[in-house]
Amino acid sequence: MGRRGLRLISLAAVPVLVLSACGGSTATQTTGATGSTSSTSTATGTPAASVSVKPGNTKVVWFIGLGTGSQPNQLQVETDFINNYNDTNKDSITIVPSIIPNANAIDVLKTQMAAGKGPDIVGPVGIEGRAGFPGVFLDISAEITKQGTDVSVYGDKLLNSMKMGGALIGLPYALYSPFIFYNKDLFAAQALPGLPVKVGDKFNGEDWTWDTLAKYAKQLTVDQNGKKSTDPAFNAAKTKQYGFDMQWVADVRRFATTFGAGAYVAADGKTAQFPAAWGTAIKWYHDAMWVTKFAPNNAERIAADMASGTTMGTGRVAMELAWGWAISSIGSVDAKGTSTSKFAKWDMGVVPTNAGVTTAPVDSDTFSILKSSKVPDQAYKAMIAMEADSSLTVTYGAMPALPSLQAAYFTAQAASATAQFPGNTVTWSVLTEMLKYAANPTHQDPMPNYTKALNLDKSFYTALQSSGSFNVDAEIAKLVTAIQAAFNEPAAS
């Protein structure tokens, strides 16, 4: 082969190199009257279903990952649902999934929207996930009327919780109630009874309040020498088990709302405030970490021996304020289905009262349709089918908002919990009990300059957990000033 031949071969390599360097990586959005095939990919290469759009069908792109849905154990369930729906629906709709890992989902969705290639449906996603995309979701009131959907099953309270800027951007889909997780082994070691399972019940003969919880949490906090935190010889640096913690809680509103519903923004919609009940909550928590030390501070919680913050399953925490989305982290099974959980028994109790009032910050996920969707009618129909599918609900670990689907949810949860904790019984009715006390306003309600104000909230919460010299009153005042400044700025997002 001469020089000319070599040059020609090298020349042919040029377009190959260019194309491989410039190759697309996000979901393609090919459409056409004839059938088209689109494939999805994820930022980390998780294999996703390749779906063919049948000729004459309407393609509806479903973006998964903004909330839950991109975990490996969820992908097969979603794929099965999509394949079944595409094969059996009579509306000539083909759902095409776009599954993105949660860590990248916000950026990918923004990029797609900026390029004019946004999906049709996003979900499941909670309020905070939607808050980063103000004004982009379709008000489905018109679709509800057009399609004749019966929304009376949800009730006004739940429906109103689905409004964003006055627009109804989804139907209540999944609910995650708060509860107090407790380790029955640790309770039994202290000869303590189980926590109340109904609001109004007493604990050990006392009203179940946050102060009562603190009292028993101190008793349940023990060091490596067996000394309780109430003992003068207790060594906080060598705590073996803590009385209380809050796994995966990262902001003030989520915790403080259990002391009373409220909002950072006053009724006028522009003045920053810090509700008195939240001040009580912050002082309670500060004392718990830095004075009586029955709760781990930030450094202690994220340590390796506390599972880097996933503390419920460690067996080292007696009680936790938790939500339904954390239940999967409590226990575990190996590949053969044998329990590998670190303790034998657990249960749930209701959230304590503050000043005689029980308040439950309930998380709610939904599916939303983007305003930019060119096929809102078909997207709505597909969305309704997603929300009605019980296998999806179970895989998302969420309690269905629709009462007709709740029985299957509890059955599945009970089966999972039994596998992880053989012989243990969990009082699942606590989750429905707490729904009766859903906070209003919610702990994730809109406020001006939402993202920035929320960042300030989270930084405050981190500082509270990180520093023993945290001056609660002074820092609350600084926070209110900073949030007011954020409210006064043009809305970030």
Partner: protein, 335 residues
């Protein structure tokens, strides 16, 4: 006559153009370079132009069609925003300490590894370079555990040493654990967050060490012999022979370190989730830029911040190049 006429006809028509050999070679060379040029245009030049234009707009990716030109509003905002100033000073604080520290520790390690009598040089070279190959995110998470103020390895070592010291000398000195655990909380303490970042940065000096090592090994040994003959001690040899001879390498490492600080992002982002916690002490310039552009969707603000950083780094680079004539010695006598 006819021949003369034919010749005249021949001489009056335009000669056929033919590429010379060098032209052909140049054309082939450009063709082979074209993938790089295309990549440069697609992934650098065009995005740079777009970001410059974007810095004069209020582009929001979530409402991409609604953008407008806002003139210099983003630049005016930038200079009035407290986070711009504070993040800039935090980055400068980090740079002022970590750049010289990184350079001199890397140089020191290179000098140690370059010693004739050191056994296992390759092992040491490998060990010092290995941290560079570990992904930044993974190493940051490992450091988080190592520096955990409650029961991280460093805390365990410090607290154990304290216990041993006090148990042994406590009776003699009549003191008993007066201060509690001495290990700082590093990334949970506003006073220790930046020292923690600097400590993490030192772990990645393997690259600089290798470059210094290469420079040290190019210093002609006869210069050291001549210096010894003239009575120079070790420090004088280092100052008058080694440093001038490796000054180009030093200059290169310094430039790279300054540019690296201007791009500093990953570790503080992983530590604080992008919020600059604790207390804003890890809110470096690029985290502020990222937050403005991608968290708050103010792409125009982010673009303006990026161009400001470009101007600052360009200024630093120009100063470094201009002043290099005074302290960088090129053995050939020319730059």
């Amino acid at each position: 006559m006819a021949i003369v006429q034919d010749t005249e006809v021949l001489t009056t028509t335009a000669p056929k153009r033919r590429l010379t050999m060098s032209h052909r070679e140049a054309a082939w060379g450009l063709l082979f370079l074209s993938p790089w040029f295309i990549g440069l245009a697609l992934f650098y030049v065009i995005p740079i132009i777009i970001s410059f234009v974007m810095s004069f707009t209020d582009f929001n990716p979530v409402h991409a069609a609604d953008w407008q030109f806002v003139g210099l509003a983003n630049y005016q905002w930038m200079f009035s925003e407290s986070a711009t100033v504070s993040s800039f000073f935090i980055t400068m604080k980090l740079a002022v300490v970590s750049v010289p520290l990184g350079l001199f520790v890397a140089l020191g390690l290179a000098i140690l590894v370059n010693q004739k009598l050191l056994a296992g040089k390759r092992v040491f070279r490998t060990l010092f370079f290995m941290p560079v190959q570990i992904p930044l995110v993974a190493s940051t998470i490992i450091w988080l555990d190592f520096l955990n103020g409650s029961n991280g390895w460093l805390a365990y070592i410090l607290n154990t040493c304290q216990d041993i010291f006090l148990n042994f000398f406590g009776g003699l000195l009549n003191v008993s654990h007066p201060y509690g655990p001495i290990a700082p909380s590093w990334f949970q303490d506003t006073n220790w967050a930046i020292p923690g970042l600097i400590l993490m940065g030192l772990w990645g000096i393997g690259n600089g060490m290798l470059i210094f090592l290469a420079g040290l090994q190019t210093v002609p040994t006869e210069l050291y012999e001549a210096a010894r003959v003239d009575g120079a001690g070790r420090w004088q040899q280092f100052r008058n022979v080694t440093m001038p001879m490796i000054s180009p390498v030093f200059f290169y490492n310094l430039l790279i370190a300054v540019i690296g600080m201007a791009q500093y992002f990953t570790q503080p982002y992983v530590l604080s989730g992008g919020r600059g916690d604790p207390g804003g002490e890890t809110l470096v310039y690029n985290i502020n830029l990222y937050t403005q552009a991608w968290t708050y969707n103010f792409m125009g603000h982010g673009a303006a911040l990026a161009w400001l950083m470009f101007v600052v780094v360009l200024g630093f680079s120009v100063v470094l190049f201009r002043t290099s004539a005074r302290w960088v010695f090129y053995a050939g006598g020319e730059r």
